[in-house]
Amino acid sequence: MNGMSLIVKKVTQLMSGLIFMYGLYIITHGHLTPGGGFAGGAIVAGAFILLILAFGSKVISLRTEKSQTSITESLALLIVIILAGAGLFFGSYVFFNNYLPEGEVGELISAGVIPLYNIFVGMEVSAALLTIFLGLVIYKEEVAS
């Protein structure tokens, strides 16, 4: 898959950073505003997918990239499970316990563990969507060649 024209490349370069930042905003404000880990993760993955589409799949080595995204995905899920399972050891022996101080409603650092879940779910969703996209690209390259 070759890259697109210079105009597209330049615009994508300008836009993808903004899209990435917006994704991070949605993830980190998941407990305050609509959205959260899943929606934000999809936006973050969108920023990367846009770059790959504009610059073509030849500039990256697809297989290394895919194994890295799939490891990131598993790691993020692992951390979510460990965070949830840690509830069994802190305090009241409850799965998915909210064991961090809850803070004040409306502040960015509040709601205990929930922002952490959001961050790692965002990481996992973006890595998973990117893995799926890279898998499709690899399939297409193999069929075409």
Partner: protein
């Protein structure tokens, strides 16, 4: 040590996500971890059977307490029925995983195999433990999506086709179940099973409720492969790698199909004559048609897959007779006997059908083919496989002292005492046909004229495969002990009590 039902879900999930990370760098990690996880689950389960527990044990995920007796947390409920089915799942999972260590070498991507296996176990454990109808749906999707990928694991044309068929039919079933969950939520304004049960026991039988019940029967019937909904099963079960066939046939159709039906129709809905009749008729149909379809099969694993449909029919008529008797306020001891027979046959079927699929895998491993016409005389080269197959064939055809005899006997006695003479006669007839079908299997695979000597791929089976097969055949004999009251009290009776005392599930849970 306090019992935490959540561990049944946390531990396999942890394994499923550790394997792709660490297994990427450390060779052999995935096998050791999967075997250890499943072994831990078996030991954990047996530990609580032996020491005893106050049923039901409830975990409220997130620690949210009930408000005015209305449950708001996601409940994980570990009662007699869950414990019984969890034991079946974990036992078969352990033996399949141990068998896979030797078997799966010829495939690439071992990491993915073991990660998906762990994910499937986590999903099934979740379905069995969940006390919340929406989470039953969520865990069911985890289990079946992992199984779609595992069926297609060989990535040959036939396997991909089977997986596609399975995905289409499984997707239809999932949509129907989700629709039924939505309808139930609309009618009762709650998703907690105990809460729904309380509301439904007080209310009347509306048309919308009957529609919901029909959707649930069709949805879970598709997952359990009852006869009009069985089209995906022979393809999927025969295409999957053998340890996965053993898992699919041994536990997946029970955990996500039969268990969900039992839990919903005994403990949640009010049992009506129509529903119990439909379930019993579907069971009888599966039992008879499944075995008739199996006669003509020459593909070994396809033959076993059709027998799965037929044997699940026995389980369903067992519980169906129980439902019919409970519904007309008949003799509760006969109802308990019928349900005990059904549940007992469920664990027995998991053992002997799992074993038969593992044997089929061993035959394929050595001879390279599953077609019975090209096999023959294998008994001389594979003594372990042929003797364990003989044991499993006798168990499935109901020959004493193997476990299949006792469970079928319980079902037939209950059918006669409950005056369902036709069902009893059909059960006996199907048993004879099953016996004939397995005589064919034994003869063509192991005792016929020696056709396969030149074609053998290897002359030794790995130790792990032999170990699993021998353990399973020993368990097939040992399960007969469940007929002795002492063992029955420990394992079977708590599970039967949950189903017979239909409203107890809700009353025990609602005050917590």
């Amino acid at each position: 040590m306090e019992l935490t039902p959540a561990l049944y879900i946390i531990v396999p999930l942890l394994g499923a996500f550790l394997i792709p990370v660490i297994g990427h760098f450390v060779k052999g990690f995935q096998k050791v971890l999967t075997v250890l996880i499943t072994l831990f689950l078996v030991v954990y389960n047996i530990w609580f059977f032996v020491t005893g527990f106050d049923a039901p044990v409830v975990t409220k995920v997130g620690g949210w307490e009930a408000v005015n007796d209305v449950p708001i947390a996601i409940y994980l409920v570990y009662d007699g029925l869950s414990a019984f089915i969890l034991l079946t799942i974990c036992l078969i999972a352990f033996l399949s995983a141990f068998y896979a260590v030797g078997y799966i070498k010829r495939f690439t991507a071992e990491n993915n195999f073991y990660a998906l296996l762990c994910l499937m176990i986590a999903g099934m454990n979740g379905v069995v433990l969940s006390g919340d109808i929406f989470n039953i749906y969520v865990f069911l999707e985890i289990a079946v999506i992992a199984s779609y990928a595992l069926v297609a694991f060989g990535t040959e044309k036939q396997e991909l086709e089977a997986s596609f068929k399975y995905q289409v039919l499984g997707g239809i079933a999932s949509i129907l179940i989700l629709f039924a969950v939505a309808l139930l939520y609309w009618q009762t304004q709650t998703l907690n099973l105990a809460d729904i049960s309380v509301i439904l026991q007080e209310g009347t039988q509306t048309t919308a409720l009957i529609f919901t019940e029909v959707l649930l029967i069709v949805g879970f019937g598709l997952k359990a492969a009852m006869i009009p909904f069985h089209a995906w099963l022979p393809d999927a079960h025969s295409s999957a790698p053998s340890p996965i066939s053993a898992m699919l046939s041994g536990v997946l159709i029970k955990a996500v199909g039969i268990y969900a039906l039992l839990r919903l129709f005994f403990n949640i809905f009010v049992i009506t004559y129509e529903v119990s009749l439909v379930i019993t008729i579907l069971g009888a149909l599966s039992m008879v048609v499944g075995v008739l379809l199996a006669i003509g099969q020459w593909d070994l694993k396809r033959l076993l897959a059709y027998h799965s449909i037929s044997q699940m029919g026995y389980v369903i008529i067992g519980v169906g007779i129980g439902m019919l008797i409970i519904q007309r306020d008949g003799n509760m001891t006969i109802a308990a006997l019928a349900i005990a027979g059904g549940l007992f046959h469920m664990i027995n079927h998991a053992l002997f059908k799992g074993l038969l699929f593992l044997d089929a895998g061993a035959i394929e491993f050595m001879a390279g083919t599953r077609n019975l016409r090209n096999l023959g005389g294998l008994a001389r080269y594979m003594p372990v496989t042929s003797s364990t197959s003989l044991g499993a064939s006798m168990a499935i055809s109901g020959i004493p002292p193997f476990n299949g005899f006792f469970s079928k006997l319980l079902i037939i006695i209950a059918a006669v005492r409950g005056e369902f003479y036709l069902l009893a006669a059909l059960a006996v007839f199907v048993n004879f046909v099953t016996l004939g079908s397995f005589m064919k299997f034994m003869r063509y695979a192991f005792y016929n004229s020696d056709k396969s000597k030149a074609k053998l791929k290897t002359d030794r089976l790995p130790f792990t495969m032999k170990f699993s097969m021998i353990t399973m055949v020993i368990l097939c004999v040992l399960m007969s002990l469940m007929i002795i009251p002492y063992f029955r009290e420990i394992m079977l009776t708590p599970a039967v009590d949950v189903l017979v005392n239909t409203s107890e599930y809700a009353t025990k849970l609602i005050g917590l």
